[in-house]
Amino acid sequence: MNATLRHAAWVLRGNPVTLAAGLGVLALALVALLGPSLVAYDPIASNVPQALQPPSAAHWFGTDQLGRDVFSRVVVATRLDLAIAASAVTLSFAVGAVGGAFCGYAGGRLDRWVGRFVDVLMAFPLFVLAMALVAALGNRVENIIYATAIINLPFYVRFARAEVNVRRNQGWVEAARCAGNSHASVVLRFLLPNVLPAMAVQVSLNLGWAILNAAGLSFLGLGVRPPTPEWGILVAEGARFITTGKWWLVVCPGGALMFAVLCFNLLGDGLRDILDPRLRT
């Protein structure tokens, strides 16, 4: 563990971008945690005389058509956006990693069919699938989470399958079996911990993608509903005023969205460097 940390520190020194991305993710997490206590205005209280003001010292990101402070809304939205993405990714990670690991361990016909199915599913327009899922399940926040989790699932299943497949006949797995472990125990206690580090990279990359998907769905009017602050909805509300030049209504929530995705993606790339065995000499 100590060696891993030292290695991580060594990689980070040579890779300031990853460090910055990590700090960005940390900042986002803090904002999500503290959210409402960081802002000066109530994110859903309207103040019509102050409607559609450009950014100023009092309203850093300006105000929207009801005079609500955009900065407060963007900051408060962080919690909901990150929570949706994190729960979706956690869900698909838990189901996908365990399911994929068992498939990869079992091998045979089932494994081949699951593999084929997952490959086909990954090539299907997943955003369309998510839309249909939210529509069918009902227009609620938790259904956005389920839909995002389901379209993330193939990535984890495929990854866990491939990683376990490589390891299933290795000596230490054989040894674990000979020591009297049941198949379930071999998968859960030996194989899964072994592939987890590699999957952590996938999680970070997927978080960015999940944020984009969830925001896209609510931009379309699926899931989260106004007046709840959420980045996708904020952009959708601002879209009506873009042709009259009210740029801050789109740029500010859109910028927050992009910043979050950028941080998670860069962190994922950086983590891959840290965990890449070719670098660890």
Partner: protein, 328 residues
């Protein structure tokens, strides 16, 4: 052809999704919140919702086999007609965007691979990193702000053609092609200027994976023996890169193009919404928000069909680019 069973799977899946899960369309399409139980029941019978689920599925499959996708409650038209009317708009947008993206991604990727760690390489890497982080609905709106509001060079971002321009006679449904065939260059210009911004938005979205893949596979190919042999034989650098290396480097790019195309079909929904583009995706979205089943099912089925067709096309292209791959 491995994706043909997937097509069937998608059909059954969407059917189950729309029927088994909550949200009763009969209640929705009843005259109002005060509609009596009898009226709701009548609509249910009319829509075939009172039959057992397996029977509904068989009927649905039978109807699909005969090209009947049901009727849209919103427009009152058969779904097939609506989709056929709107599909060209979506395809025109998607193909233009794909072409644009390829025209930018290939030169950028090749240039970056030829000079690793150069300014161009870093620029391409930056573009790729940013490209995947910008949601299409944000970049589309930013384009509108910059080119319509600030610069004033783009037309009003609604629809495919200026409302005052004359619509060319419909032959293919692709406005650019129709206008060119009719020789109506004013309409062509109007349609093209409406198309530029949405196409650029979507091209930007898929530029990153294409450029990244071109760069990576080009880098790998450039270090191979046959490239060195070509250089040693005194062939021009241009010939070695563009003829021998590129052809080999294209295979992974073609593979990823299938995936890129399917993400574009999804991104279409967002882009069509931002630019009020009258395509199939915005049609399905409107139906979806009104819990109108038939258009959504038809749309997902159409997506699945296109997806199978594209996979087939990718396999064929693969065979063209690499004669060793047999298309069997």
């Amino acid at each position: 052809m491995a994706s043909a069973p997937a097509l069937f799977g998608v059909v059954v899946f969407t059917f189950l999704l729309m029927r088994v899960l909550p949200g009763d369309p009969a209640v929705f399409f009843a005259s109002g919140p005060n509609a009596g139980e009898a009226e709701i029941q009548a609509i249910r019978v009319q829509m075939g919702l009172d039959k057992p689920i397996p029977e509904q599925l068989v009927r649905y499959l039978w109807d699909i086999g005969h090209g009947r996708l049901g009727r849209s409650m919103g427009t009152g038209q058969p779904v097939t007609v609506d989709l056929a009317n709107r599909l060209p708009a979506s395809l025109e947008l998607t193909f233009t965007a794909l072409l644009l993206a390829l025209c930018c991604a290939l030169p950028l990727g090749i240039g970056a691979a030829l000079a690793p760690n150069s300014l161009l390489d870093h620029g391409v890497r930056l573009l790729c990193t940013l490209g995947v982080c910008v949601p299409t609905f944000v970049s589309g709106l930013l384009f509108i702000y910059a080119f319509y509001y600030l610069a004033g060079v783009a037309p009003d971002p609604t629809g495919r053609i200026d409302i005052f321009a004359s619509q060319p006679p419909t032959l293919t449904g692709f406005l650019l092609v129709d206008a060119a065939l009719a020789g109506d260059w004013e309409a062509w210009h109007s349609a093209a200027s409406q198309l530029v911004l949405p196409a650029c938005t979507m091209a930007l979205f898929v530029l990153a994976p294409l450029a990244r893949m071109t760069r990576a596979s080009m880098l790998a190919v450039l270090t191979s023996d046959f490239v060195r042999t070509g250089d040693a034989l005194g062939l021009s650098r241009r010939r070695v890169v563009l003829v021998y290396a590129l052809r080999n480097a294209l295979l992974p790019v073609i593979t990823i193009m299938g995936i890129v195309f399917s993400t574009m079909l999804g991104a279409n929904v967002l882009v069509e919404k931002v630019f009020s583009w009258p395509g199939v995706a915005s049609y399905a979205l409107d139906a979806l928000l009104a819990s109108d089943y038939a258009p959504v099912q038809g749309f997902v089925l159409l997506m699945a069909l296109i997806f199978v067709a594209v996979n087939l096309l990718v396999d064929l292209l693969y065979g063209l680019a690499d004669p060793r791959v047999s298309v069997a």
